[in-house]
Homo-oligomer: 406 residues x 2
């Protein structure tokens, strides 16, 4: 009998009607002989409601208490879904992250899962129960409630699938799979039946919102077959696979991801000597600001420039930090631009085919779009452009790589 | 340094404004040198909101899952109150019932506290923290979430006070103490500065709504000084004391409590032999219906009648059970009346003074009210009357015993 982990996001359980629909779906899966562990998010709107209450009390509420607060959202959903299933005569039992033994580190608000004790879930499955688990949450070694950060329910599902050695992990969401690019920007975007794990990881970390990149990493580490489906119109969705695909016809490029709301900072005229990158970026890392693309150019006269991108929310605080560093290092100047976007083309076919970068650069040039930064990996080419050209660039690249055709 | 347990009910924490007010109050107490453990209920309206969601999914939702669901109400409040305190620079940490080691039996929806491990709270207090605990909830020995039933937060507070050997347990509510009777019925009702534990227990179990009778029992068992105060206009409130009061001038009667929504059932003409009360009341107890007053009269010809009262909600199901028993025992008939009320006068002075019962019966006779049943304890006389005379009876008795004067 196959063991499946299914995860339902906030819109999939956003109302009594939706919870009843999910319960019907799960009953059918159960009747077909699958053993099920189900991970759910908070009902859509609930997390924001709770955040609003906290923000009314404090501009910077303590993260430990935010986790106590926000974790109730998923706890409400597990209880309701279990009630709906038992109303249908299906045996179901709900568990919080802590109850089911999801142990995390102590970083409230963005904890990482360290260990899952699968024994409790196995007992329940062996007793014939559907096990409903609150996503997004765990406990630390002292029993404090922790949360995994936004989108963390995907990670909960994949981590449970790994711990249980599940046959498949299915992520039900409000879209029916992974697309060649965002269909809201390019109406001709095509749904993919399959995508390799590496491509999915690059797409997720380049801004594709369907799956959180941490959950993809986790899936890859344990080789969990991961499927993205719509909870509204379930079909086969998109399967994220681990096939090396040597005899598969591989497309050059599988998808295009983007990130709006990026910002760029440059520090100019710093001494070109060992340790300077660390002195520039160390304080930014210490302030928990994620730096994405980093470029260093060697200049004249023993001096160098460093340019990097951060999320636009972090732009001002990052600029202040950088200006302090500039003073200490005797830098020429600090430049900032908070109106940039990043766009990335991803495809395992790049490994064996040349010319992808040039096709990309030509397509952008044809649209009159200037490239500000370039960053590459084995299966990805990312560029930074002015943000107002983003939609134009996505559509131009989608066409240049022929992604609308299967 | 004194250790105090303070409990705030749903209306006391019913809005962001109220939570801020409670946080201000607690900061002042903390600054005055008290060590504090604070028990809170769900924000008013929240429990009903959650109940509504469950009822939309199932007419009879599973009790285990209802506990998972409802316990989130208090969890939200503990987090918000802790955030509000830390915003004021007060060290505070929130804990669910399970986290703080409140162990209960397994009866979901009306669990009883079996044990509290005070070690975790002591560590927090010693570290200088205000400890915020979710009322109304605990866990059973298997780690399942349990709730104590409506009003259970009072019990949580008293049980914590007992486990911690606290100097006082203060119950903050929307009234400012214990009154001689319900001021909504008798505007001349007077607030009591003190009341003995025995009187409070009789009043609570006779229908006085301010404190849940289970919490009073618990307080008595461990001799916890218990105080009822208003969270809106805090003053000294009413202290529930354990003084034997031999040299205290004791009022004959301290208060009058009542219960509307009662119902009365009579089974007539059953064999007057050992075990017959058990055969009549056993099935009712087995159906988890609480029976209050029970009266048995010996009749003629070796037959007897049994009359008892139950809550009006249980009237129909109880009548069905009783009719089955009547058939089995060959009883003459089953009579029922679902429009009765119970009224009780309570006072430790009754122990040493005669004539209280007669004063009561005369006062009711003066108002033309017929007494249907009488039940007495050492410090209480309760009567059952037709429910439409309830307010008249309360006011008449309040006057007859001179309760408006201090």
């Amino acid at each position: 009998m196959s063991l499946i982990v299914e995860k339902f996001g906030g819109t999939s359980v956003g109302s009594i009607e939706r919870i009843n629909a999910v319960a019907d779906h799960l009953k059918a899966k159960c009747d077909s002989g699958e053993s099920l562990v189900v991970v759910v998010s908070a009902m859509s709107g609930e997390t924001n409601r709770l955040l609003g209450l906290a923000k009314d009390l404090s501009a910077a509420p303590v993260t430990r208490e935010m986790d106590v607060l926000l974790s109730t959202g998923e706890q409400v959903t597990i209880a309701l879904l279990s009630i709906a299933l038992q109303e249908r005569g299906v045996n179901a039992r709900s568990f919080t992250g802590g109850q089911v033994g999801i142990l995390t580190d102590k970083v409230h608000g963005k904890a990482r899962i360290q260990q899952i004790d699968d024994s409790k879930i196995r007992v329940e499955i062996d007793a014939g129960n559907i096990v409903i688990v609150a996503g997004f949450q765990g406990i630390d070694e002292n029993g404090n409630i922790t949360t995994l950060g936004r989108g963390g329910s995907d990670t909960s599902a994949v981590a449970l699938a790994a711990a249980l050695k599940a046959d498949e992990c299915r992520i039900y969401t409000d879209v029916n799979g992974i697309y060649t690019t965002d269909p809201r920007i390019e109406p001709e975007a095509r749904r993919l039946d399959r995508i390799t794990f590496e491509e999915m990881l690059e797409l997720a970390s380049s801004g594709a919102k369907v799956l959180q990149s941490r959950s993809v990493e986790f899936a890859g580490k344990y080789k969990i077959p991961l499927r993205v489906l719509s909870s509204f119109e379930p079909d086969a969705g998109t399967l994220i696979s681990y096939e090396t695909g040597e005899d598969m016809e591989q497309p050059l490029v599988s998808g295009i991801a983007y990130q709006k709301d990026e910002a760029k900072l440059t520090i100019r005229g710093i001494p070109d000597q060992p340790g300077v990158a660390h002195r520039v970026l160390g304080p930014i890392s210490a302030a928990n600001i994620n730096v994405d693309i980093i470029i260093q150019n060697v200049g004249a006269d023993g001096e160098t420039d460093i340019t990097f991108t951060v999320h636009r929310d972090d732009f001002e605080s990052c600029k202040t930090l950088l200006e302090n560093t500039a003073k200490a290092l005797g830098a020429t100047e600090v430049l900032g631009d908070s109106s940039i976007a990043k766009i990335a083309v991803v495809g395992v076919g790049m490994r064996s085919h040349s010319g992808v970068a040039d096709t990309m650069f030509k397509a952008l040039a044809d649209e009159g779009i200037n490239i500000q930064m370039i960053s590459t990996s084995e299966i990805k080419i990312a560029v930074v452009i002015e943000d107002r050209y983003l939609e134009l660039a996505v559509r131009g690249l989608h066409k240049a790589f022929g992604l609308a055709e299967a």
